[in-house]
């Protein structure tokens, strides 16, 4: 469940060391080996962002690895122990949860529009379950551009930077052609696979551009947020 290779009789996986017996790291994770939609086996959690948990998954039918993103906003909802259900807190949180779920669907539809684009992460399925919803994507081996940069000491030679950013710009051109703005291009959202492909992730901030310019903008962030979140420091 750590890498989806057969571990035979061993307790811990000989390939990746994952031990299913160990307790989960992240709060509210789906139990390991949960089956979703009669098709996907849930493995270890790859990461969580406070409003979504991403798991390594196994597509039982197609016999391949997938990444599965679950809408799980920890401020608005929780998962009872040993349950697979996501339960919104009572009161205004319930409305906010439902609203966020709708936006999650919008996000899925937006990414799904660009399946042919090699620079954008591929979406293979989206379905409701457990009181929430799941986005199934291709599983990518690699790192974010942020980690990649860190490993390289924070700087890249121009040619390499251009090589990385060109597929991103190609992808953006496709978005802009249908009047969509990504609005969150950052090293966090650009993925560099081990085979050298570049993929744009996370369309959570993407929106239709304002067609009607009689409407005033309320925000123009003229430079990207200078401080990373959450481990950055403020600029005084």
């Amino acid at each position: 469940m750590g890498c989806m290779t057969d571990r035979g009789q061993a307790k811990a996986c000989p390939t990746c060391g994952f031990d299913e017996a160990k307790p989960p790291e992240l709060p509210f994770e789906l139990p390991i080996r949960t089956v979703l939609n009669e098709q996907y086996l849930i493995g270890r959690a790859l990461g969580a962002g406070g409003f979504a948990i991403t798991y390594l998954g196994w597509d039982i039918r197609l016999a391949r690895r997938v990444a599965i993103k679950e809408y799980m906003p920890s401020a608005l909802a929780s998962r009872p122990e040993n349950s697979t259900q996501v339960v919104p807190h009572s009161g205004p949180s319930r409305d906010d949860f439902n609203y966020g779920l709708e936006r999650f669907l919008d996000e899925a539809r937006m990414v799904a529009q660009f399946q042919e684009n090699p620079g954008i992460i591929a979406v293979t399925n989206f379905f409701p379950a457990n009181g929430t919803a799941y986005l199934v994507m291709e599983y990518l081996e690699g790192t974010t551009l942020k980690e990649y940069l860190k490993d390289r000491g924070g700087r890249l030679p121009f040619e390499e930077a251009l090589e990385i950013m060109t597929p991103v710009m190609d992808a953006l051109r496709e978005l802009h052609r249908v009047n969509l703005l990504h609005r969150d291009i950052s090293p966090d959202n650009i993925y560099v696979t081990t085979s050298g492909q570049i993929k744009l992730l996370d369309f959570g901030a993407a929106r239709q551009a304002l067609r009607d310019r009689s409407q005033r903008l309320s925000v123009i962030l003229s430079e990207p947020a200078l401080i990373g979140h959450p481990e950055g420091r403020l600029r005084a």
Partner: protein
């Protein structure tokens, strides 16, 4: 009836506040004060006043400003004697940004939900403050009103270009996006923060005003100064400023929030 005084080591601060929804559907401003009864905390942390103006469709703007104020005050209250006020203000702001960002993300509205924030600490050693966005901090002293913080708007940037001769004042004045914010709390990292290192001397007779843009878009600085001159204490000033702003009857009057803190020598 006079407003209760909060003693800060010989200086007395009389805070007042007033708020109205204007002609909007929701109240998206929030405000707060730190605990005025906690003399022990005030001795090292001062009394904190804070205003936040939220944005984001539906009720999310109100959520954003409320979360910003609550998180800021909670985090600032963790300040210990050894931590400088300036540092505590920065730490509290960072926490507020993270909390609003997390909320925005959880409703799938990253980059569409946020808040301005202006927070000021009143201590005997002086006034210290931190600001993001277009809410305002004024000081009224020696019969004149001065705005202390810089607005983080496109208009402010255009004004810089006009000053440098790179744009005409007419062009800047008609830009349709001149009121757009260039910095706010909740984006997951704050592009511009107004956070001076120096403190501002507080002396008897001064009035400090924190307000959302709903106030200064309705009243000119001259009008604000005139009203403050005629007000005996913070609550009288806040009520009068609000009443005068609403009396303008602007067609799209924004939410108005105004905090006024009058400073006086503590009578012994």
């Amino acid at each position: 009836m006079t407003t209760p005084f909060i003693g800060i080591d010989g200086l007395a601060c009389a805070p007042g506040n007033a708020q109205a929804i204007g002609k909007r559907d929701d109240q998206q401003d929030s405000f707060g004060y730190s605990d005025p009864a906690d003399a022990g905390f005030i001795a090292h942390g001062g009394l904190v006043a804070i205003v936040a103006d939220g944005m984001g469709g539906m009720a999310h703007g109100a959520d954003a400003s409320r979360i910003a104020v609550r998180t800021f005050l909670e985090q600032y209250a963790l300040k210990i004697r050894d931590e400088p006020i300036s540092q505590a203000l920065g730490r509290a702001l960072e926490a507020a940004d993270r909390a609003v960002f997390d909320f925005a993300s959880s409703v799938g509205k990253r980059r569409d939900v946020g808040s301005t924030l202006i927070a000021a600490s009143f201590a005997r050693a002086g006034l210290r403050w931190i600001s993001v966005g277009d809410s305002a901090l004024y000081i009224y002293r020696d019969s004149s009103l001065t705005r202390l913080n810089h607005p983080h708007t496109l208009g402010a940037r255009l004004a810089e270009l006009v000053k440098r001769g790179e744009m005409s004042p007419e062009e800047a004045a008609i830009d349709p996006d001149r009121d757009a914010l260039t910095s706010y709390v909740g984006a997951g990292g704050i592009p511009q923060i107004d956070w001076p290192a120096e403190s501002i001397l507080l002396a008897s007779g001064y009035m400090i005003i924190l307000c959302s843009d709903g106030l200064y878009r309705a009243l000119s600085e001259d009008e604000i100064a005139r009203i403050v001159t005629a007000s005996s204490d913070g609550q009288v000033a806040a009520d009068a400023l609000l009443a005068n702003a609403l009396a303008r009857d602007l067609p799209r009057q924004d939410n108005v929030t105004v905090l006024c803190i009058r400073v006086a020598e503590e009578s012994r």
